[in-house]
Amino acid sequence: MEKEVILEVKDLDVTFGEKKKRFEAVKKVNFKIYKGETFGLVGESGSGKTTIGRAIMRIVPSTGGDILYKGEKINGAISKELDRKIIREIQMIFQDPQASLNERAKVDYIISEGLMNFEKNLTEAERKERVDQALLEVGLLPEFSSRFPHEFSGGQRQRIGIARALIMNPEFIIADEPISALDVSVRAQVLNLLANMQKKRQITYLFIAHDLSVMRFITDRIAVIHKGEIVEMAETEELVTNPVHPYTRALLSAIPMPDPRYEHNRKLLVYDPAMHDYKTNPPSWVEFSPEHYVLANEKEIKEWVKS
């Protein structure tokens, strides 16, 4: 059975600034996300991974290319109806739970702000009911709704951020580094919560992070992005066990593992973009093995097949 594509990004370009100061943050990026899966975007800071997420949310305008949600183009000028539909169906969870919640609003308002705009005929009682439900769903107590964000710990705040996204009944959630700002023990709780929500509601995730060890645990497929270009994309286990692109290998070699013997013998690989000879022999997007894509030129493919 053909998997249903929920989001497709085609030749996406995002540039900031003009003329001399022009900076290409995202260059000709292509990927598809299937319904119900968790798709990971990994890269270092400055690689453009967050910009892609923001372009899908339409927080930053795209300069070129298409973003298709359920087959409809959602970047550029779109109809008002489609606009409202996407706002409901695509939600975002942010990195920093300290900064992403309005400090001056109560939890009740933070969570239901979306509802107030989209389900205007809800009665007060119904709205309250929905908020309580959302809070319970993320493992918080309904009585928390009358409190302010500063009264909560980092993990609890992140749960409020998740409840705010969930109350809209989204089909697609962009999670931008949702656990990087959290403490070790709380990370596990939030990761589990996200995974359980997915099982319960068949939500599709775009998971943006720099940490491949977390990615390996939560995603189904991963795209590795370097300086605005996707260099490799494959199913998670395939990518982790058979990395092809030198940048992916370097990233994998840098993951710290909780095993001192392994750590002492670890060989750290360093990626140097100067190794590519792309002036004379430009790279293309090659299907290396089924569903495993890599950016390379013919010469490199031959070398990498051998190793």
Binding site: L191, S213, E263
Partner: protein, 349 residues
């Protein structure tokens, strides 16, 4: 046995907050030896930063050492200094930077944006090594090279904003080294950095420790980083060290349920499609006196005695001890989680 650099005995630290007293450090004893890297791991709020800040006299105004003592043995004249007895700022100047230096988490905030990198390193060189300008500059360039900076002459005259995060952290390390310290405290030095940069900084710290014969205290919550750098590991929970041992002891043969829980909750050990282990509940409120084993309320397998009496340290081996009643000969046998076997057998990679 290696030479002792620092020795902490039954240290207690309390903070006065709105008329209430918070017991941040509850009787910690610890020795630091010359040339070793000791990692301190724990959740935020476990007191790991407060503990090490007390070595440099950097506690907040409302924080006081209320019991125990810390003695520093590394002075040139060989006379031990009781750090907990130092009162005046002037006395601290001899220790701070000069004997014990610190690297903070965020390289963005620990550098002065208005001064060049060179001036900031040179300031430390001139203050601590009593050199004239020309010699100090030469020394500064050496330090910059040491921390892996290229084109040092040009770098010397640049400002922090011209540096990437990883490079800034290297500069902060250079400043710390320029004080010529015996002990280097690294407080989450790589948390704000990318993984590839993190690996480079960790390698640098390990290299510099040999070159300058440093003893390093490494504070982190990332057990992967600990496995990479540490010779010995202390696990902190609620203002107490619950387990301490060599890196092998802690990763391959941990004894305290809290250490088990920390190791089990790492995404690296998780199996996709199943729930990752997460520690139930929250750390105890340190405004109220903790009774028994502080971790007991969050430990589903806690024994009755865990709620009544605080466990003493039980020695597992000469290098390894843990504060848990499970090691008492009368305790029932509780097996560590399966994850520990997996780690010991190299089953993660």
């Amino acid at each position: 046995m290696a030479e002792k650099m620092l020795s902490v005995e039954d240290l207690e630290i309390k903070f006065e907050l709105r008329g209430k007293s918070l017991h941040a450090i509850r009787g910690i004893s610890l020795d630091l030896y010359k040339g070793e890297i000791l990692a301190i791991v724990g959740e935020s709020g476990s007191g790991k930063s407060v503990f090490t800040k007390s070595f440099m006299g950097l506690l907040e105004q409302n924080g006081k050492v209320t019991g125990g003592k810390t003695v520093y043995y590394g002075c040139d004249d060989g006379v031990p200094v009781e750090l907990t007895a130092l009162k005046k700022e002037k006395e601290w100047y001899k220790i701070r930077g000069h004997e014990i230096a610190m690297i903070m988490q965020d390289p963005m905030t620990s550098l002065n944006p208005l001064k060049t990198i060179g001036a900031q390193i040179m300031e430390a060189v001139m203050l601590h090594q009593k050199l004239n300008r020309a010699e100090a500059k030469k020394k500064t360039l050496e330090y910059l090279t040491d921390v892996g900076s290229q084109d040092v002459e040009r770098r010397f005259n640049q400002y922090p904003h011209e540096f990437s995060g990883g490079m800034r952290q290297r500069v902060v390390i250079a400043i710390a080294i320029a004080c010529n310290p015996q002990i280097l405290i690294c407080d989450e030095p790589t948390t704000a950095l990318d993984v590839t940069i993190q690996a480079q900084i960790l390698a640098l710290i390990k290299e510099l420790r040999h070159k300058y014969k440093l003893s390093v205290i490494f504070i982190t919550h990332d057990l992967g980083v600990v496995a990479n750098t540490a010779d010995r590991v202390a696990v902190m929970y609620a203002g107490d060290i619950v387990e301490i041992g060599t890196a092998e002891d802690i990763f391959y043969d941990p004894k305290h349920p809290y250490t088990w829980a920390l190791l089990s909750s790492m995404p690296q050990v998780g199996i996709k499609g199943t729930d990752l282990f997460s520690i139930p509940g929250t750390p105890p409120n340190l405004f109220t006196e903790v009774k028994g084993d502080a971790f007991a309320p969050r430990n589903p397998q806690a024994l009755k005695i865990d709620f009544i009496e605080r466990p003493p340290y039980f020695e597992v081996s000469p290098t390894h001890k843990a504060r848990t009643w499970l090691l008492d000969p009368r305790a029932p046998k509780v097996d560590p989680p399966a994850v520990i076997d997996k780690i010991r057998n190299g089953g993660l990679v």
